[in-house]
Amino acid sequence: MTGSPPIRVVRGTALFIAGDDVDTDQIMPSRFLRSTSFTGLEQHVFEDLRQAGPHPFDDPLHASASILIAERNFGCGSSREHAPQGLARWGIRAIIAESFGEIFAANCTAIGLVCVTLARADRQSLSKACVDVPDAPLCIDLRRQRVEAAGAGFACTLPEGRRQQFLDGSWDSLSLLMADPAAVEEVDARTRVFAPPPGVL
């Protein structure tokens, strides 16, 4: 089992997706979940919203963006990993929001897509700056838990355990979970007594 590369800093330009409660059905509509692979999902990120009108993901000014800024509860709803997979394959490497749908944030962590939260006022200044100056560079520093943009700096947060996973390159969770098989077997044996597994049908 190989470790995953450490992620300490994410630098890049950003694009802003306005609105609360942007659900994963918007990020990746259901009809793109019928494949048995994640390949090509980058083509369908926000597809229905992009069909309906101008969208930041079609704006040439943001074509090379690698950071997504969002409002509250970004990625709520369906647990589909196709949503973060599509974003990551499109080129997004970090998401800054006021809050996240929790399954979405867990899925992002598992594929090395950084999610950090910012206070509302800070997020507002940051998204305004990103809309005003689309090519302004941004830097998310996980070591110091700071977002730096055009001379302004904001404190950002993420759960400490996840931060350490990014910093030490263990965000690919499977290696951590496979490290102590005896401990898993102990819980398995202990819990079989009162919650018999269904076994062979």
Binding site: R34, N73, S78, F104, A106, G161, L177, M178, P198
Partner: protein, 474 residues
């Protein structure tokens, strides 16, 4: 030391180790595997040369992609068929218990696992589907996960998780006639907002929850995720135990007393410290209908569609946009909103009690589905379908103008051949009114209880079921 809520007790009992500060390896007792979120996970196992760690703690079946008419597998789209057969092959390869739709063993995992007695108090459960929260109804901790975590559970029978905060939601009083768990869930989500539960496990308690049967509790816990909570649960009690007793995978008679004695200890301590406590008066809850594109955008059926300006400032822009998408006019009653499709089913409301009450009301009233409405009943599992037939309720529903289909997620998720077309408006007993959710990017969903869907179906428009079915609740 203060007492612990049930959430903490179960969590602590399943911690394998604290891997990083606040980041725990949590053992998963039962893993439900579907065809949509698993193929890439099995592929990842293969790439790393890993096998499934505990096949007997894993159950696989296809629910999202099955057809509800004709052959459940072969009458899907080519992509649907490929997904289902991929799951079958992966299950065979890893010797996983597989409930085969081609043999009629299928159903929505969140309907099927409980009805077979697979979900028990004190368990941890995971499934690559957000509505896994359903299983909390049994006093279990149940988590929706994505594909990478499906891979993790297959390979290690565990997950990396943080501890959630716990909010106790005590529901006092009683639900009025014609008001159901679904209405309570929608009411709560409106109250707390779709993000009100973020960071929390919701403990549902109080006399109203205690009085609910298991299927109503499942509806309530199912919708916890729509309020932003990672999971919801109810402390197990005699209602739980008597539901489980005698079911296929429940403990045998010999083990029963021992298991039940243990389950009785699975309560929150009286001096448990909660991160938040909310008390709610059930008498104030009325049948709810959503008017927007987020589950918190709902009104009581006797209320007008709200003016965005009457909402808190931070919700106004979203409301304007949602109303434009829905083509609804603020200030008008929600009652009378015409519908094209009526859908009763899903992991929220596709169980026998949901369908039984609809059949009873239609039978008594003699009412028929309005001519312009396409009305579907999709049982949550093949077993529910068979029970409908055994009690001749399928005939009642068909005589009233509903098409009674075979089991599956159907029109809830837009991933199979059942889809809305164009801008159709669907009165739906499902769980999400997101744009495009039911398969058409411009399709529109009005969430409500199964009985309210039935009332809308016979009226051709949103209607107050308490008035449509006069004798309701009597």
């Amino acid at each position: 030391m203060a007492g612990r809520a049930l959430y903490e007790k179960i969590f602590d009992s399943r911690v394998v180790r604290e891997v990083l500060p606040g980041r725990y390896q949590l053992f998963v007792d039962l893993h439900l595997v579907n065809e949509v979120s698993s193929p890439q996970a099995f592929e990842a196992l293969q790439e790393r040369g890993l096998d499934v760690r505990f096949p007997d703690r894993t159950i696989a079946t296809a629910d999202h992609a099955v057809a509800t008419r004709g052959n459940p597998v072969l009458d899907g789209s080519p992509e649907n068929i490929r997904q289902v057969l991929k799951l079958r092959d992966n299950a065979r390869k890893h010797a996983l218990p597989y409930l085969d739709p081609e043999r009629g063993e299928h159903g929505i995992l969140h309907v099927l696992a409980p009805e077979r007695g697979m979900v028990m108090p004190g368990m941890t459960l995971a499934c690559g589907d957000s509505h896994s929260s359903t299983h909390g109804a049994f006093g279990a901790l149940a988590f929706g996960i994505g594909t990478s975590q499906v891979r993790d559970v297959l390979a290690s029978q565990s997950l990396l998780m943080e501890k959630l905060r716990v909010r106790r939601i005590s529901v006092e009083g009683r639900l009025g006639p014609g008001v159901y768990a679904k209405d309570l869930a929608l009411h709560l989500i409106r109250l707390l907002g779709s993000k009100g539960g973020v960071g929390f496990a919701h403990e549902f308690a109080g006399p109203v929850v205690e009085a609910m049967d298991m299927e109503a509790r499942m509806t309530l816990c199912n919708m916890a995720v729509e309020g932003g909570a990672r999971c919801g649960y109810v402390e197990p009690d005699d209602v739980t135990f008597s539901y489980l007793k005698g079911r296929e995978h429940a403990p045998s008679a010999r083990a029963w007393n021992r298991c039940q004695a243990y389950w009785r200890t699975l309560r929150s301590d009286p001096d448990a410290e909660y991160d938040d406590i909310l008390s709610l008066d059930a008498d104030a809850v009325r049948p709810c209908v959503t008017w927007g594109t987020s589950p918190d955008q709902s009104v009581a059926v006797d209320q007008p569609i709200p003016h965005p300006r009457s909402l808190p400032p931070d919700q106004q822009a979203a409301a304007v946009e949602a109303l434009a998408f829905m083509g609804l006019e603020p200030g008008r009653p929600i009652v009378g909103t015409p519908i094209d499709v009526a859908f009763i089913g899903s992991c929220t409301n596709g169980r026998i009690s949901d369908l039984e009450v609809v059949a009873r009301l239609l039978n008594r009233s003699g009412m028929k589905v309005a001519p312009a409405v396409k009305a579907l009943i999709v049982p949550g599992s093949r077993a529910v379908r068979q029970e409908l037939h055994r009690r001749q309720l399928d005939t009642v529903l068909e005589n009233a103008g509903f098409e009674v289909r075979d089991a599956g997620c159907s029109l809830c998720c837009g991933m199979n051949v059942d889809q809305l077309v164009g801008r159709e408006v669907c009165a739906s007993s499902s769980n999400r009114n997101f744009k495009g959710r039911q398969g058409s990017p411009t399709g529109r969903t009005l969430l409500m209880s199964p009985v309210m869907v039935a009332a809308a179906a016979v009226s051709g428009a949103v209607a107050d079921a308490r008035e449509v079915f006069e004798e309701h609740g009597a």
